[in-house]
C-alpha cells in the first residue's frame, strides 16, 4: 500500500473490518486475560508443580507452532495487500498458504495431544490448564481456518468485500497473538 493511502486511511479514522467485530476481539482478549490471570495465580501458588509439568512439554514443537502461526499471519497480511491492490489471484494464493500453515499448526497440536494422552499423568492441575487453554485456542484456530478457506475462495471474485478480508485478518492476528502469550506462559515460564 502506498504511504499516501495509509496516511489517508489513518486521517479518516479507518477501522479495519467492521467496528462491531472489535467487540468480539476485545471481549475475547479480556477472557483470555482472565485465564492467564487464573493460571498465573496458581503458578505462583505451586511453582514446583508447574516446573514439573513443563518438563513434559516439547518446547521445539511449541516454537515450531509459534513460527508457523507468525508466518501464517504474514501471509494473511500479504493477502490483504493483494486484495487492496485488486489482485484477487495472488490474494487467493496468500490466503491458501495461510490456511495450509494453520492446518500444519493443528496437525502439530494433534501430535502433541496424542503423545500427552498416551504417556503423561493427565489428572494434574498443570495438564488441566494445558489442555483447557490450548484447547480453547485450538477452537479459535479451527474457526479461523474456516474463515481463511472462505477468503481463499472469494478472493478471485470481482469486487470482494474488503471489510470481510480485514475482519478475518484481524481475527487471525488475534489468534496469533494469543498463541504467542500461551507459548510463553505454558512452555517457557
Amino acid at each position: 500500500m502506498s504511504e499516501e493511502t495509509l496516511v489517508r486511511r489513518r486521517r479518516g479514522g479507518h477501522v479495519p473490518g467492521e467496528p462491531e467485530l472489535w467487540m468480539l476481539i476485545l471481549d475475547d482478549l479480556v477472557v483470555f486475560g482472565v485465564f492467564f490471570g487464573v493460571r498465573g495465580r496458581n503458578h505462583a501458588a505451586q511453582p514446583e508443580l508447574f516446573a514439573w509439568g513443563r518438563q513434559h512439554l516439547d518446547t521445539t514443537t511449541g516454537l515450531a507452532n509459534t513460527l508457523i502461526l507468525l508466518t501464517s499471519s504474514f501471509a494473511v497480511a500479504r493477502g490483504l495487500e493483494h486484495i487492496r491492490a485488486d489482485d484477487g489471484r495472488r490474494a487467493a494464493r496468500a490466503y491458501g498458504a495461510a490456511a495450509v500453515l494453520g492446518g500444519a499448526f493443528v496437525v502439530l497440536k494433534a501430535i502433541e495431544y496424542s503423545a500427552h494422552l498416551a504417556g503423561t499423568p493427565l489428572g494434574t492441575e498443570f495438564f488441566v490448564y494445558y489442555f483447557v487453554f490450548t484447547g480453547i485456542h485450538l477452537v479459535h484456530v479451527l474457526v479461523g481456518l474456516g474463515a481463511l478457506a472462505v477468503l481463499a475462495r472469494r478472493a478471485p471474485r470481482p469486487q470482494p468485500s474488503v471489510a470481510l478480508f480485514e475482519g478475518v485478518g484481524v481475527y487471525w492476528h488475534m489468534v496469533d497473538v494469543l498463541w504467542i502469550v500461551l507459548f510463553y506462559l505454558v512452555y517457557l515460564v
Binding site: 467487540m23 468480539l24 492441575e125
Partner: protein, 237 residues
C-alpha cells in the same frame, strides 16, 4: 404484510418474556434455593444432604419456580424463531434448528427444577440419593450446553451471514455478542470432569463467567428484540 396491533402486542410479550424468564428462574435458583454461588461439587453426600434438608421447603418452592420458568421461555423462543425466519427470508434451516433448540432448552430448564424437586421430595432419603439428584440438577443446568448452545450460533449466523449490512434484521453487534457468548460457554463442558478449581461448577470459568452472561444476555435480548419488532414487524404498508 399488515399486522394487527394485537399481534404486535403479543410479539412484545415475547420480547419481555426474555427478561421475565431469568427473574422467575432466578427466584427459584437464587432467592429460594440459595444456589448462587452453588456449593462445591467436591462436597460429600452428608454435607449436600444437610443443605437440602435444612432448606427443604424453600428449595421445593424454588424447584417449582424453575419448572414454571420453562413456560416463560416459550414466547421468547417463539419470537426468536419469527425473527430468524425474517432474517432468513422464510423458513430455512436456521429457523428449524432454532425451533428444535428452543424446545430442548425448555426441556433442560424443566428437568433442572425437576431434579431439585427429586432431591427434596422425600425427607427420609439417604444422603447418597440426595447427592445423586442434586448432581443431576447441577450437571444439567451448568453442563447442559449441547441443549441450548446452538441458540447463539443460529442468532450469530442469522445476524452476520444471512443479510446484507444494510438494514439487517438482527443488529450485527448482537450477532458478535452471541458468538462470543457461545465461545465462552464451551469450557462449561469441563464441569463433567472436574470438581475443584476454576472449571468446576462453582469456579470462575465454570460458574461466574456463564452466570454473568446469563444475567446480561436475556435483558439485552429483550431490548434488541423490541427494536427489531419496531423496525421489521410493524410495517403497515
Amino acid at each position: 404484510m399488515t399486522r394487527s396491533p394485537h399481534t404486535t402486542a403479543l410479539l412484545r410479550v415475547g420480547a419481555w418474556s426474555a427478561t421475565v424468564f431469568p427473574l422467575v428462574f432466578g427466584a427459584g435458583w437464587l432467592l429460594l434455593g440459595h444456589f448462587f454461588p452453588p456449593f462445591s461439587p467436591a462436597d460429600g453426600p452428608e454435607e449436600i444432604a444437610r443443605q437440602f434438608l435444612d432448606r427443604r421447603t424453600p428449595i421445593m418452592l424454588g424447584s417449582v419456580a424453575i419448572m414454571v420458568s420453562t413456560m416463560v421461555l416459550a414466547p421468547a423462543g417463539a419470537l426468536l424463531v419469527l425473527i430468524v425466519r425474517k432474517a432468513e427470508s422464510g423458513v430455512g434451516i436456521l429457523t428449524v434448528i432454532l425451533g428444535l433448540t428452543v424446545a430442548t432448552t425448555m426441556v433442560l430448564t424443566f428437568y433442572t427444577g425437576f431434579s431439585l424437586a427429586l432431591a427434596t421430595f422425600r425427607a427420609g432419603r439417604g444422603p447418597a440419593l440426595i447427592q445423586y439428584a442434586s448432581d443431576s440438577a447441577f450437571l444439567q443446568f451448568i453442563g447442559g450446553i449441547p441443549m441450548f448452545w446452538l441458540l447463539w450460533i443460529v442468532v450469530a449466523c442469522a445476524s452476520l451471514v444471512t443479510r446484507s449490512r444494510e438494514n439487517p434484521v438482527i443488529p450485527r453487534w448482537f450477532g458478535y455478542v452471541s458468538l462470543w457468548a457461545a465461545i465462552l460457554y464451551i469450557p462449561e463442558l469441563l464441569v463433567f470432569f472436574l470438581k475443584q478449581g476454576p472449571f468446576a461448577w462453582d469456579g470462575l470459568v465454570g460458574f461466574w463467567i456463564p452466570a454473568v452472561i446469563f444475567i446480561v444476555y436475556f435483558p439485552l435480548a429483550t431490548a434488541v428484540s423490541l427494536g427489531i419488532i419496531r423496525r421489521h414487524f410493524e410495517d403497515t404498508r
